[in-house]
């Protein structure tokens, strides 16, 4: 039996099983269990669901799945009716709602329109529309996320039954050169941020002169505000196994490492389960690729440092060294893991390969209006109403992301700017909100679109605060090789902190520019791009810097070093409560009335929250000459 036949056999068996499961007749509750829903308390929901069902003695199947992308509405739970006529997805099924939820959806077998997101399976009703008609789903093209939420990520048969490993089966019938050609035709670019054509990278490894060869999947996802990789790892891990199998066919690799950041324990566990299951059915192992060609996968928990996400730092980390980005050349395709030829791709890059082979490169690349082909997953966070994960074609505008999927800004606030691309990138002003989601517009602005995280900020955010945060991050995460990087970021951070304390100087512009220049000479992108946020801010938010430096004033009134809390109305009764709340006892009363001791005040804002009319925030340094 050829390997392709073996895979087809597995698929057929899985389909049968899937059909059996569906014909089972019992009700099915599927709880989305991922890191986002865990943060929203899904564990309690799940526990109470189980307890409630047991209490009622109902014979109901309870399963878990990955995410649907409705991260702001977790916990999401779907219910399949007895007999399978109708499956409805609900949101915000918190612990306190479980009892009613079970009562209505299970015991009485009706729906709960007030919590329904949409119908997944079956016909739309008057009260509940089809899920694909939900505004959030409209315009999304869900290919990578097709199965996430619907299947049990810990069950290989679910994946196999719903189109899984079909791409691999097709690739098995092709030569390595044909696979590369198909990849090149698709135009798939690296999703880790660089956008380098994956087919070319694979070809470098294919034509490498040494053996053995290794594949590495970069799942270190270190950018704050990005969790697209996690959605796949937790929601549909076999997609990555399959993608790496195809890459192994193309490149002649014998082993792959999936390097997952250690803050993703659930992803590590699900990925490990997927790998174990694939091994059990022979998709991994001594004859994984057929003709006696082995392929193995190792799930590797990351070392917990940002630069371990840089591909050579990642390889050093797997090799057992300090996770320091290496010096190039040699490039990974010449000397990577264990100094052997290797290829590193992002999770999402590998995950696209099965789609390309299952449906053909033409189909795959047909959806995008931009130079970059295919779909891209994004996670939106920050000041938007809806923190979520979406999959859209390249080319739509950031505005659409923000307004349509992000649901606009909270409290209808005014946008100050947005930040794609993680800490090595920077804040773009609201004026740039119509940029299309593609690589070049951001590159032209000296930054990155990055791997999918986009964070939105409203006018209350201080640009200095952001820059300080990013530089602090970069300084902390510097691997320590380059003097420019680990000391240059220190210097820049100190200057920013000083400005934030009201100590800005005219000479700071020159100092910061000097540092931007010096940091250019760093070894890896971490050091080279560490000052991007400052560089962009000095360009786009120059006015704010001018005020910060010249007037020692923060227009957003959010920097603790530049504001002061003062009593506005000394008679207000809330002051009593505020004084008790103040963690440092800074609000005191003497015979003249209430007073805030500025030296003691830590600007926690607790007092103003309870006494908004009695306490006001003012600029700390008043320089009437300049402001008048």
């Amino acid at each position: 039996m050829s390997t392709a036949e073996k895979v087809t056999g597995l698929i057929n068996a899985a389909r049968d099983q899937w059909e059996d499961e569906r014909a089972d007749g019992r009700q099915v509750i599927t709880v989305c269990l991922d890191t986002s829903s865990l943060a929203a308390g899904v564990q309690s929901t799940l526990d109470s669901l189980r307890a409630e069902i047991e209490r009622l003695g109902h014979d109901v199947i309870i399963r878990t799945s990955g995410s649907w992308g409705f991260c702001w509405l977790e916990p999401t739970v779907s219910v399949r009716s007895a007999g399978g006529g109708l499956t409805v997805l609900y949101h915000s099924v918190t612990e306190d709602r479980v009892e009613e939820f079970v009562q209505r959806t299970i015991v009485q077998g009706e729906t709960m329109p007030e919590l329904a997101l949409g119908i997944v399976e079956g016909n739309a009703t008057e009260e509940i529309g089809h899920l694909s008609d939900h505004p959030f789903m409209q315009g999304q093209i869900r290919r990578l996320m097709e199965r996430s939420g619907q299947i049990d990520p810990e069950n290989i048969n679910h994946y196999l039954a719903l189109g899984g490993y079909e791409g691999f089966a097709k690739a098995l019938t092709q030569t390595d050169e044909q696979i590369i050609e198909e990849m090149l035709n698709s135009g798939l670019g690296g999703r880790g941020g660089g956008g380098f054509p994956a087919g070319r990278k694979w070809d470098f490894l294919r034509t490498a002169t040494a053996d053995p060869r290794y594949l590495v999947c970069n799942a270190d996802e270190g950018d704050p505000g990005a969790w697209v990789n996690r959605i796949l790892l937790e929601g549909d891990p076999h997609l990555i196994v399959e993608g790496m199998l195809i890459a192994a066919l193309a490149t002649g690799s014998i082993e792959g490492y999936i390097y997952i950041r250690h803050e993703y324990p659930l992803a590590i566990q699900r990925m490990q389960t997927a790998v174990d299951q694939a091994r059990e059915v022979g998709l991994l192992g001594p004859d994984a690729l057929g003709d006696g060609r082995p392929f193995e996968l190792v799930v590797f928990a990351g070392a917990g440092s940002y630069v371990c996400g840089e591909e050579t730092g990642l390889m050093s980390s797997i090799d057992g060294y300090r996770g320091m980005p290496r010096i190039r050349p040699p490039f990974p395709a010449q000397a990577g893991l264990w100094n052997k030829p290797s290829n590193v791709n992002n999770v999402e890059t590998y995950a696209n390969a099965p789609l390309i082979f299952k449906n053909g490169s033409e189909w795959w690349s047909s959806v995008s209006s931009a130079e970059e082909k295919g779909t891209k997953m994004f996670t939106l966070s920050g000041a938007v109403n809806q923190a979520c994960c979406v999959e859209v074609p390249f080319g739509i505008s950031v505005r659409e992301l923000m307004e349509h999927y992000g649901g606009g800004l909270q409290n209808d606030a005014e946008l100050k700017g947005y930040q794609p691309g993680g800490p090595l990138s920077g804040l773009l002003p609201a004026g740039e909100i119509d940029l299309p989601l593609a690589l070049s517009p951001f590159r032209e602005r000296g930054m990155f679109l990055g791997s999918g995280g986009i964070v939105f900020f409203d006018q209350s955010t201080s640009v200095l605060d952001l820059c300080t945060y990013f530089l602090d991050f970069c300084e902390d995460e510097s691997c320590g090789r380059c003097t420019t990087c680990f000391q240059g970021t220190q210097r820049a951070l100190e200057i920013l902190r000083r400005i934030g304390q009201g100590g800005g100087r005219e000479s700071d512009y020159e100092k910061l520019n000097d540092l931007i220049q010096a940091l250019r000479w760093s070894n890896c992108l971490h050091g080279q791009f560490a000052p991007t946020s400052v560089k962009l801010a000095l360009n786009y938010f120059r006015d704010e810097f001018e005020i910060l430096i010249k007037e020692q004033r923060d227009p957003t009134q959010s920097l603790p070093g530049l504001i002061q809390y003062q009593i506005k109305d000394s008679t207000a009764s809330e002051l009593e409560v505020a004084s008790e709340l103040c963690p440092t006892d800074a609000i005191v009363r003497n015979n003249l009335g209430w007073k805030i001791d500025d030296a003691a005040c830590i600007r926690c804002d607790a007092c103003r929250e309870v006494a908004p009319l009695a306490i006001e925030v003012r600029d700390r340094f008043e320089i009437p000459l300049l402001t008048q």
Binding site: G480, T483, T484, Q487, Q490
Partner: protein
């Protein structure tokens, strides 16, 4: 070969060479604060920016490789600016600002300087001042006076840096001075294979640390100081001489502390040795030396050294001039010669010229020859070799070791006794993947690098080596590890991989030394037959053992004549401590006892005449070390007081005894060369790199089994194992340190963990060790270094006292727990 153009100058260079080395070697200044010649680039300091035509921006010269036709500039505006800004960033976390001040030399600590700073920091008060690479770099990149970060509050200064580590006698580490270039760490790793240093933390928590982060002496650092040599700042400094910023002169000469014979460079001040660095040009030692080489220069403090000549008048030694002392010595000896034979003994650190002269006196004046306290051991070793290989002179070149594919070591503890030899073996293992077999009862770090550690009981190294030799012939052995090692070695030989066998015979027991040598020779014979001499290296205990043998010393056994001797001349040797059979009575019965030495050792105290010779390193001459490389010894320091060089003392004595001898060592070497043509080339040697003597392959290889020796382990007794330790009492430069005690590792007995448990002893307990008449007392260390059933007693413990046990072939001792220390 290609050509590159650097700043308009044409330079010939090999394709693929690191650009930074090529530029430096062609006189183009390169700032390169993290690069270490010969190691892979680290590219951390970012100061080696250059402009290479083609790619945009600047490139690093340390990662760039030479390509034919490359056009490089180091003098463009962009390069200068780039380097300046990088150096500026480096300085921003380095102690204060004199570093960049052009007025530095005019200021004094405590002054208020022109910039209104109190002069307390940086170079003026830094031990590295005037010899600091960071300082020089600032000057060369035009950053003197350019310090963009002065006046900025820097987090670096807000938190106090960890305190300096000054807890050991050899070296200091002051993290505050560290610029995190990691040169030390990489050298410790890649050149020493010790890996005592690590870079830890990220961002502002970065730091260099030793071992698990404690003090240096708690780590596995062996104090070779290789890290000090490469540290561009004052972060790592030698302790004894850290304040020696300027020396009068540097002299390249040869370390006299073991038969590796590393080249060293001695920096001297007012005629005294002040600092030692690895010397240039030695193809074996290269840029490495060990703790002895670096710190032994000052082996005795000047007050302990002889500065006068003495003649005995009754019970006391009276100072005399050299002429009177020589006259007295000569007439005493000639008188004594009327009554009986006169013997001459020489030590292992005298030069070839001195040994030759001593032998001339011994043979021509006294008709008796010259010997050494090491004589019994040396005769045992040379005998074992001659029987099997036809000669004691092996033709094997030690520089083959780093490239060898298999290495077999038979030694007590090569790491301790011949440190740099051990480093080169680790080179072979780590760089070439060489197969290493270690046959020694003691565990050393070398064992961690071995593929096979065949651990004999104490003193049975030779027996196990012989067993290996037999397995190489196809015999079987109960011990599967010996069989496996033999098979693996055979495979390497079959694949034509180079194999080198190293034996370092025991320095105390002739029986054990003979067995070790015989076993190792048998291995060579089994593997290579007639070509055995091309694969065996014998590393004797002292630097010039091969030299004194070559000069004819030991051909007559003086040691065995003790009952007949009427007179004795002892030259840098101390028979009362080294020959257990010689008693005080024997010395008393001598008619004439003449000692030439630089310390008043026990034999000297009994002498009629003591002629004070200058210390080691004050004379000139040659050494013939382990693999017959003739190395030059050049005067690096002055003779002290009335002393004369050893050669001068000997030639005066010879003249007084009526012999016509060459007046200088150089003339002597010419004469040696006429007797021993191999020395012809050495006679023309100018500097320290030395030259290998032409030793032909012997063409003989005969397997001879070892003499059977019954070793029965007596119940309740431990077998004595001895050897030479790396840290010696004479590293006196370091011993002025109050914490020196910590490193007196040789001052303790060592026993195995098993015996520690059985005898209820823990480290630090005081014990008495007894065999026959002899009892030694010291504290004990319980360690896995020692095999069960053995006790290790250093040959340095209490001035060599262990020798007294060695009236037996392999002595065994009983142990008394004297008193448990608080």
């Amino acid at each position: 070969m290609g050509t590159i153009t650097a700043n308009g100058k044409q330079i010939e260079a090999e394709d693929g060479q690191p650009l930074v080395e090529v530029l430096k070697n062609n006189g183009i200044y390169m700032s390169n604060l993290c690069y270490v010649d010969g190691l892979k680039p680290y590219a951390g300091c970012r100061t080696c920016l250059v402009d290479i035509e083609g790619p945009p921006g600047l490139q690093l010269a340390c990662t760039a490789q030479v390509q034919d036709g490359m056009i490089v500039r180091t003098d463009t505006e962009e390069v200068t600016e780039g380097r300046r800004s990088v150096v500026g960033v480096i300085l921003s976390n380095h102690s204060e600002r004199c570093l960049t001040c052009h007025r530095r030399e005019h200021c004094h600590p405590g002054d208020i300087c022109l910039r209104d700073d109190v002069v307390t920091h940086r170079c003026l008060t830094c031990s590295k001042n005037y010899r600091c690479e960071l300082q020089a770099t600032c000057e060369m990149v035009g950053s003197a006076g350019y310090e963009p970060w002065v006046g900025e509050e820097r987090t670096f200064y807000e938190e106090p840096q960890p305190p300096a580590d000054r807890a050991n006698p050899y070296m200091e580490f002051d993290p505050q001075m560290c610029i995190l270039c990691t040169r030390c760490q990489r050298v410790c790793d890649e050149k020493r294979h010790t890996s005592a240093i690590t870079l830890g933390g990220r961002g502002s928590d970065l730091q260099i640390s030793f071992g698990a982060g404690g003090t240096i002496d708690e780590s596995n650092c062996d104090f070779s100081g290789a890290c000090i040599d490469v540290c561009p700042t004052a972060a790592l400094m030698e302790h004894p001489n850290k304040w020696v910023s300027k020396t009068d002169q540097w002299t390249t000469t040869t370390c006299d502390s073991c038969s590796v014979g590393c080249s060293i460079s001695i920096g001297s001040k007012n005629g005294e040795a002040a600092i030692v660095r690895p010397g240039q040009g030695n193809p074996f030692s290269g840029d490495q030396i060990c703790v002895r080489g670096r710190y032994h220069y000052d082996s005795l403090q000047s007050q302990d050294r002889l500065s006068q000549h003495f003649v005995r008048k009754g019970q006391i030694h009276v100072p005399e001039t050299i002429d009177i002392a020589i006259e007295e010595a000569a007439s005493n000896l000639l008188k004594a010669a009327q009554k009986g034979p006169i013997g001459i003994l020489v030590g292992g650190t005298i030069t070839n010229e001195e040994a030759w002269l001593a032998n001339q006196i011994g043979t021509q004046v006294f008709d008796n020859g010259a010997d050494s306290s090491y004589g019994p051991i040396l005769r045992a070793v040379t005998g074992a070799l001659e029987e099997r290989i036809g000669t004691w002179k092996m033709s094997t070149d030690m520089t083959r070791i780093p490239k060898a594919k298999a290495i077999i070591v038979v030694a007590d503890d090569l790491e301790e006794s011949h440190n740099v030899l051990s480093v080169r073996i680790k080179d072979a293992v780590t760089r070439e993947g060489a197969h290493l077999t270690v046959i020694s009862s003691l565990r050393s770090e070398l064992v961690d690098f071995s593929k096979a550690w065949l651990r004999p009981g104490g003193g049975e190294e030779g027996v196990v080596a012989d067993a290996l030799a037999n397995c190489l012939e196809g015999s079987d052995n109960q011990d599967q590890s010996i069989v496996d090692a033999a098979r693996e070695i055979q495979e390497i030989v079959a694949g034509e991989g180079d194999v080198v066998i190293v034996v370092a015979p025991n320095p105390v027991s002739p029986t054990i030394a003979k067995e070790m040598t015989s076993g190792a020779a048998n291995i060579a014979v089994r593997l290579f037959g007639e070509k055995a001499s091309d694969h065996l290296i014998v590393a004797p205990p002292e630097v010039n053992i091969h030299g004194i043998l070559d000069m004819g010393v030991t051909q007559t056994s003086i040691v065995d004549q003790i009952d007949q001797l009427a007179g004795l001349v002892v030259i840098r040797d101390d028979p009362s401590m080294r020959i257990p059979q010689w008693s005080a009575n024997h010395f008393q019965n001598l008619e004439a006892l003449v000692v030439i030495d630089n310390v008043m050792h026990p034999t000297a105290k009994l002498a009629d005449v003591v002629i004070a010779e200058g210390r080691a390193y004050s004379g000139s001459g040659t050494y013939t070390q382990g693999d017959f490389r003739a190395q030059k010894l050049s005067p690096a320091i002055a003779t002290q007081g009335d002393t004369v060089t050893c050669y001068s003392a000997l030639s005066r004595l010879a003249t007084a005894l009526g012999l016509v001898v060459p007046g200088t060592p150089e003339d002597a070497l010419q004469q040696i060369a006429s007797d021993h043509p191999q020395y012809l080339e050495a006679a023309n040697l100018l500097i320290g790199d030395g030259i290998r003597l032409n030793i032909p392959s012997s063409g003989t290889g005969k397997y001879i089994p070892l003499n059977p020796r019954e070793i029965l382990a007596a119940p309740n007794k431990l077998r004595v194992v001895t050897g030479r330790d790396q840290y010696t009492a004479t590293d006196a430069a370091a011993l002025r340190h109050p914490e020196a005690e910590k490193l007196h590792r040789y001052d303790q007995f060592q026993i195995s963990e098993e015996d520690g448990e059985a005898l209820d002893l823990t480290s630090g307990d005081e014990i008495e060790v007894t065999a026959g008449e002899t009892t030694l007392r010291a504290s004990v260390t319980v360690t896995d270094r020692v095999a069960e059933g053995c006790i290790y007693i250093s040959s340095l413990l209490q001035g060599g006292a262990v020798i007294e046990f060695f009236t037996e072939e392999v002595p065994e001792v009983s142990i008394q727990n004297a008193a448990v220390r608080a």
